[in-house]
Amino acid sequence: MAERSIAMEVKIKGMKREDFKDNEYIDKLVEELNASGTNVVVGSLDQLINWGRANSLWPLCFGTSCCAIEFMHLGAARHDMARFGFEVARNSPRQADYIMVQGTIVHRMAPALVRLYEQLAEPKYVIACGGCAVSGGPFKGSYCVVEGVDKIIPVDVFIPGCPPRPEAMFYGLMQLQRKIKVEKFFGGVNRQEKLKDFLEKHPEEAEAMK
């Protein structure tokens, strides 16, 4: 029974549950989130909102190297990410939903990436795309390469590959959709509460805000 409800919650059109590889992760996430139970009204509202969010992922144009070219191919006619509604690539981080780090991040770029991440409006997601963004890839051990963007910003989905094929990028994006579909908007904590929580723990920051 539990199995079925999870499967229903994270349904993706055209992809069967068995076709995805990391089902345990999503299952665990659902279990954790549903541990306290959900109100029926709130639950269905959540579903509606998650449906909207998952199907309207607008990327921020952020290509640093080879993966960016494959991302262009993702948008081009053969692969056409517009089918999923992902094509509204925004150039301003204020209007984008997720940042797909396509390529190596080096020491000089790191502050800019963190700043872009902070400029994104909530809810925001990060996809580390390609070997360089996942772990430094072929440039691991270089004096100025950040070995994995997860060292500086939180990452939702990792897409390995050098560069990943457009199909792999679709898979990663669908995994992100699944992750979004189990989120909680009303039940969970939002940014305001997070901020309040943070300020309670760090009174000196609260002083500075005033």
Partner: protein, 546 residues
């Protein structure tokens, strides 16, 4: 070559000479600037094109190797200048003679800390302004605590310095600013849709007019040259596919040729043909991409999709043979890694047959459009002198009328057997650069058709040299090799001490030179032209930063 040696020894008696594939002249730094002036202006020498400046750390001394070419006689010469002072290494700048040195000397400064006397803008090129140490020196301290990932903004972005030699021989540092306080500075990048990656252009504007453009590179500087020094030769090959990923084959071809030259390996003819075919396919796909990106940057989005439609077909060919779409890893030392796919010739012929009609479509959609013509004609003009002086090669250089195609000036592989035309235009503006690319697509198709015939004749022969040693050790020496990549002359310099790993490996990228000319090409035009000009110059950022 003897002639050059005679002339130089007359001008500078203390210079020593070393024969090799290219004559190498070693001079003392004190005499260097005068000799440089002669090299450029003496009619018997006439080395007007500075190919590259390669910094090097020879442990007991620090210095540079300069490679020069004469655009008239196609003669080459290289000059070595070194200093033994490791604390405050200083050399004389040649940026007043060859403008390309403006950006290349900054690279040497960034890597080795060599200060160039007389350079107007001596600051780091790739690394953060607060970086500790000079990474390519052999005694560089790689302790991550010295250079942690800093998340605060770089300090003193505007600070730069010039070093001037006084009449008594002492060198004085003059602090300067890139932009004055009263200038209205608008920043493009590093995250910007039309900088083609993570390039940052700081511009000073008056209304909509650009007064000055200051490119800030290094947002994808991955330290490839340093990494190469700790890798064996076959391992270094993989970096070439990730520098200019639009010329992956050509770059790798260049490095392979350079190593093969050092080892004295003769590549089988079939492998040569396959390599050249891959190079031309890569060039075709690269020009299609630059067509797509340029049109998209200028607002004609549909044209972008047309260019990418054909690019997909070419990537399919790559995928069948190489197994990958972008990082192809196909050339290896001595040949190619595997034989071509059985469908290869059929697929290439199919591409050749559709391209002419598709080109017509591109011209219909974009080239003939009155807005496109108004936007590109007369915008971002570079003269031939500028192009040579700034070392702008490739389609951007040929658009000024400079015959700089390495395939013609120094034919390598089997290019001398093939019948093709070197495309040049004379206007030197964005439209000329665009048209050179479009016309080169036709030449690519012409080349590919000939190559298909040649490859059919070589059916079943070896695709890799039979006698490639298992462990590759280059003899002591240094080699320089150039090929025509999609964006210009790409060079590889290897210095070996006889180890399994290179002592110094330098990639002389065409895009770095192009970046150096952006300021010149953009001044006085409008903000929108900045986009057109950079799109038509068509640089690839990871190739600049390496």
């Amino acid at each position: 070559m003897a002639n050059i040696q005679e002339t130089i020894s007359k001008l500078c008696p203390s210079a020593t000479f070393e024969e090799g594939e290219v004559l190498r002249v070693t001079v003392d730094d004190k005499l260097w600037h005068d000799l440089a002036k002669q090299l450029k202006e003496n009619p018997e020498l006439g080395f007007d094109y500075l190919v590259g400046i390669i910094g090097c750390d020879w442990k007991e001394s620090l210095g540079c190797v300069y490679y020069f070419t004469s655009t008239k006689t196609q003669e080459h010469v290289s000059v070595k200048v070194a200093t033994t002072d490791r604390e405050n290494p200083m050399l004389h700048s040649v940026s007043d003679l060859w403008r390309v040195a403006l950006i290349q000397e900054r690279e040497v400064y960034d890597f080795y800390g060599i200060v160039f006397i007389g350079h107007p803008d001596m600051r780091r090129l790739f690394l953060r302004t607060d970086w500790v140490g000079f990474p390519l020196r052999k005694d560089y301290d790689a302790n991550p605590e010295l250079n942690p990932i800093r998340l605060e903004q770089e300090p003193d972005e505007d600070a730069t310095a010039a070093y001037v030699e006084e009449s008594d021989g002492t060198v004085k540092k003059i602090d300067r600013k890139v932009f004055e306080d009263n200038e209205y500075v608008v920043n493009f990048g590093p995250q910007h849709p039309s900088t083609h990656g993570v390039m940052r252009l700081r511009t000073s504007i008056d209304g909509e007019t650009l007064l000055k453009v200051d490119p800030v590179a290094g947002y994808i500087h991955r330290g490839i040259e340093k990494l190469c020094e700790s890798k064996t030769y076959p391992q270094t090959l993989m970096f070439t596919d990730r520098m200019d990923y639009m010329s992956a084959h050509q770059n790798r071809h260049c490095l392979c040729m350079c190593i093969e030259k050092a080892l004295g390996i003769e590549v089988p003819r079939r492998a040569k043909i396959i390599r050249v075919m891959m190079d031309e396919l890569m060039r075709l796909s690269s020009h299609l991409l630059s067509y797509g990106c340029m049109t998209m940057d200028m607002g004609a989005t549909t044209a972008f999709f047309y260019g990418f439609r054909e690019r997909e077909e070419i990537l399919d060919i790559f995928e069948k043979t190489c197994g990958a779409r972008m990082s192809l890893h196909y050339n290896v030392i001595g040949g190619v890694v595997a034989d071509v796919h059985p469908d290869f010739i059929k697929d290439v012929r199919a591409i050749c047959s559709i391209m002419p009609s598709r080109l017509k479509e591109y011209h219909k959609l974009f080239t003939g459009n009155v807005i496109a013509q108004n936007r590109t004609k007369g915008v971002g003009v570079l003269s031939m002198e500028d192009a040579i002086n700034y070392g702008v090669t490739g389609p951007s250089g040929r658009a000024t009328g400079w015959h700089c195609d390495v395939r013609k000036t120094a034919p390598y592989s089997i290019y001398d057997e093939l019948d093709f035309e070197e495309i040049t235009e004379t206007a030197g503006d964005s439209f000329a650069r665009y048209m050179v690319r479009m016309r080169e697509i036709e030449q690519c198709v012409k080349l590919l058709e000939q190559l298909c015939d040649l490859l059919e004749k070589e059916e079943g022969n070896e695709y890799i040299a039979p006698k490639v040693p298992k462990i590759i050790k280059l003899p002591v020496g240094h080699w320089f090799q150039q090929v025509e990549a999609s964006r210009g002359a790409f060079g590889v310099y290897i210095e070996s001490t006889g180890e399994k790993t290179p002592y110094r490996m330098h990639f002389n990228s065409p895009c770095l030179n192009i970046l150096g000319s952006v300021d010149l090409a953009c001044r006085g035009y409008k903000i929108a032209d900045l986009i057109t000009i950079t799109a038509s110059l068509d640089y690839v950022i990871p190739d600049i930063d390496r």
